[in-house]
């Protein structure tokens, strides 16, 4: 019985300062394998396609069911999660690269800190802490909750930032993901009470205005989040906010 082989071309990098290089691997095919199980196979037996012993490929992973966002990488030119990238559905050789919009830590592992910093910057939370019990907040209509649930699916994976032409080293754009989170928390009946703070945060440099409407984000989002609708809705909200800020408002 001849074993079918799967060929990988992996972009590797030994540490954040060194230059990236390509290394090829051939591993035996198994039914239903995904990119992660292939990387695990390489880790088990780190020998490249030339038969030379090499270091195991580094990557990040967490949930293995496309809800944590940690295993995102560029697979055959498109950023996506490697856990749901099934080898049988991919064209060979399978090319793996890190999402270079982010600082590369090693091989396919990247540092997504900028996304978490952006969430802090836009205040993507609902402040409810206080010195006494405030009681229950306003109720959220069920239809609105269902709609907001779609926005809450964001796993901060970074695919939308990788796809965006305006997120790069020349710009300080925070990217689509944190913007859509502003829409989520502004839609919440309690979160809405701090709406202005979040709108003002995204009206700062590197915020909402840096969007150039290429709409790659909404095409690339693995969770199908309506990112461009969120951005356009925030454009409307910030238009009103800008006039309020400038002329003053009696609320």
């Amino acid at each position: 019985m001849s074993t079918k082989m799967v060929k990988f071309i992996i972009s590797r990098q030994d540490n954040p300062e060194t230059a990236p290089y390509l290394e090829e691997f051939e591993i035996p095919h198994r039914p239903n394998m995904n990119v992660i199980s292939a990387l695990m196979e390489i880790r088990r037996n780190p020998v490249n396609a030339k038969g030379e012993a090499t270091t195991p490929v580094t990557w990040e992973m967490g949930c293995l069911e496309e809800v944590c966002g940690a295993c995102s990488m560029v697979i055959n030119g498109k950023p996506r999660q490697s856990c749901t990238a099934l080898v049988d559905q991919l064209e060979q050789p399978i090319r793996l690269e890190p999402m270079k919009t982010f600082p590369v830590v090693r091989d396919l592992a990247i540092d997504r800190s900028r996304m978490f910093d952006a969430l802090k910057r836009v205040k993507a939370w609902i402040p409810i802490d206080g010195t006494y019990d405030l009681g229950p907040g306003p109720r959220m209509p069920e239809t609105k909750r269902q709609w907001a649930y779609e926005l809450s699916k964001c796993m901060t994976c970074g695919v939308c930032l990788e796809a965006c032409p305006n997120v790069n080293s020349n710009s300080d754009f925070i990217g689509p993901a944190p913007l859509s989170q502003v829409r989520l928390f502004n839609a919440h009946p309690t979160g809405e009470m701090n709406k202005e703070e979040r709108l003002n945060a995204i009206m700062d440099d590197g915020g909402l205005a840096e969007c150039g409407n290429s709409q790659n984000c909404v095409q690339s989002c693995p969770k199908g989040i309506p990112l461009t609708t969120s951005i356009a809705a925030l454009n409307r909200d910030t238009t009103f906010q800008a006039f309020k800020n400038f002329f003053g408002s009696d609320r």
Binding site: N166, D204, D205, A209, Q215, N216, N235, R236, T239
Partner: protein, 202 residues
């Protein structure tokens, strides 16, 4: 302030492209369309525009300053992007690239066009049908004008689409789709007007 410097500049950039620059573009193309009738009609229209009261103020505040801001900030925006159409060949991403390419072409064209007509007028030349017929007497200049004017018209029409998004007028995907059809209709209509005018001088 209403927002940060970036926020305000971006919004003003978007607004100026439509008001007044877009309005001026339409007016300019419509007035020039008199050339399709005959040389006399064009000369009369050009003469009327030339003798508008407060002309230098109209030119400065409706044309020169808005275009100067739009051009300088537009170049800044253009060179900030890292285009990735080869990797993400989606329609809107292509329009994103074409918007930037036509913007730069339009800027080069306008610089030359202003030098050839408005600056020459200031230096004593008379702007009339024969001036344009003279400019468009070489095939190279016909091609240059066709590319320049069509770029300007496309940049305006597609810029109108993003103006509607940037100011929050079109939010839903459906409204943005309808807006795509409407603004591309604007492109086709203005393209017909401008190409007819260019060929009227040949």
């Amino acid at each position: 302030m209403a927002g940060s410097k970036d926020f305000v500049n971006r919004r003003i950039h978007s607004l100026l492209g439509v008001i007044p620059i877009g309005i001026f573009l339409i007016q300019h193309l419509v007035v020039n369309h008199f050339a399709t009738k005959d040389a006399e009609a064009f000369n009369a229209a050009a003469h009327f525009m030339e003798n508008l009261p407060f002309r230098i103020f109209l030119e400065t505040f409706v044309i020169y300053l808005p275009i100067l801001f739009h051009a300088v900030y537009g170049l800044y925006i253009t060179f900030q992007a890292k285009n990735n159409v080869s990797r993400y060949g989606y329609f809107r991403n292509m329009m994103f690239l074409v918007q930037r390419v036509t913007g730069v072409i339009t800027l080069i064209f306008i610089a030359w066009h202003v030098w050839e007509t408005r600056v020459q007028a200031a230096l004593g030349a008379e702007v009339n049908f024969s001036m344009m017929a003279d400019i468009l007497s070489s095939p190279f200049m016909i091609a240059f004008y066709l590319i320049g004017v069509l770029s300007a018209v496309f940049h305006f029409a597609n810029g109108l689409w993003s103006f509607f998004v940037s100011w929050g007028l079109t939010v839903s995907p459906r409204s943005q789709k309808i807006s795509t059809y409407v603004t591309m209709g604007v492109f086709v209509a203005l393209a017909i007007v401008s190409v007819r005018t260019i060929f009227a001088f040949i």
